[in-house]
């Protein structure tokens, strides 16, 4: 059942990439947001990935031995706000303008976010390919019997 553990690893990567895409989409959607619950403009969020110990709940045996020591999944460790100061734009008519007529806009570069989003989508694709490769390996091993 060890090969099923590979599926777990690829699955964790799929989850992580989906969450990253979610945060990137949020950054894109709020590129012009000047009002938030905390007050002030939206702050761009950064996703931090980290290695993950495998789930021992369902497949304790799947990660025994080799994979327990060397193969690790991935997960979103933290989502941090980008410390870059907001972009000031002169819009005196805006309701959120300060006394000098400047409005603080989030420091989100849509192009950069889009590139990151493409990266997340490609990584997702890549891990789906890894799942299919693993699936094929398992199916191939059944051919030994028949």
């Amino acid at each position: 059942m060890n090969l099923l553990g590979v599926l777990e690893i690829s699955g964790s990567a799929l989850t992580a990439e989906r969450q990253r895409a979610e945060v990137l989409a949020s950054n894109l959607a709020n590129a012009q947001t000047t009002q938030t619950a905390k007050g002030g403009p939206y702050q761009r969020q950064l996703v931090i990935f980290g290695t993950r110990k495998a789930d021992s709940s369902t497949f304790a045996s799947a990660f025994a031995g080799f994979s327990d020591r060397y193969a690790q999944g991935v997960e979103v460790k933290r989502v941090l706000p980008d410390p870059t100061p907001p972009v000031q734009r002169f819009e005196p008519a805006h309701p959120d303008a300060d006394s000098q007529g400047y409005v603080a806009y989030p420091a989100v570069n849509p192009i950069e976010e889009m590139v990151n989003l493409m990266g997340a989508a490609r990584s997702y694709e890549l891990n789906v390919a890894a799942v299919q490769a693993t699936k094929n390996m398992i199916s191939q091993s059944f051919q030994i019997l028949s």
């Binding site: 099923l4 369902t58 799942v131 019997l145």
Partner: protein
């Protein structure tokens, strides 16, 4: 002519060994292992069912998790079928033996 007849008695010892000795334990071990394997297959299928249900209910399950669960259930079922085919084939081979 006396000595060949005496050779029959060890058969009883072999039979006694089958009834009380280790071979019986091994047989039950194999069947219980088979049972455990089947149960694991069933568990994977239940898990896949739950994931799919969660997906369709809109409980926020990840699509890829459901797909991987279904694939695991599928693969484990295939393995179970292969083992079953092998066992049935072995049984037929033994049953068809000419004496």
């Amino acid at each position: 002519m006396g000595s060949p007849l005496s050779g029959i008695s060890p058969l009883n010892q072999v039979n006694a060994g089958v009834e009380t000795g280790k071979p019986v334990d091994d047989r039950s071990d194999f069947s219980s292992q088979l049972q455990t394997a089947f149960n694991q297959v069933e568990q994977l299928q239940t898990e896949a069912d739950q994931q799919i249900a969660g997906l369709l209910n809109g409980q926020g399950e990840d699509i890829h998790k459901a797909m991987i669960a279904v694939e695991k259930a599928n693969l484990s079922f295939q393995l179970m079928m292969q083992v079953r085919n092998k066992i049935i084939q072995a049984y037929r081979d033994v049953a068809g033996m000419a004496f």
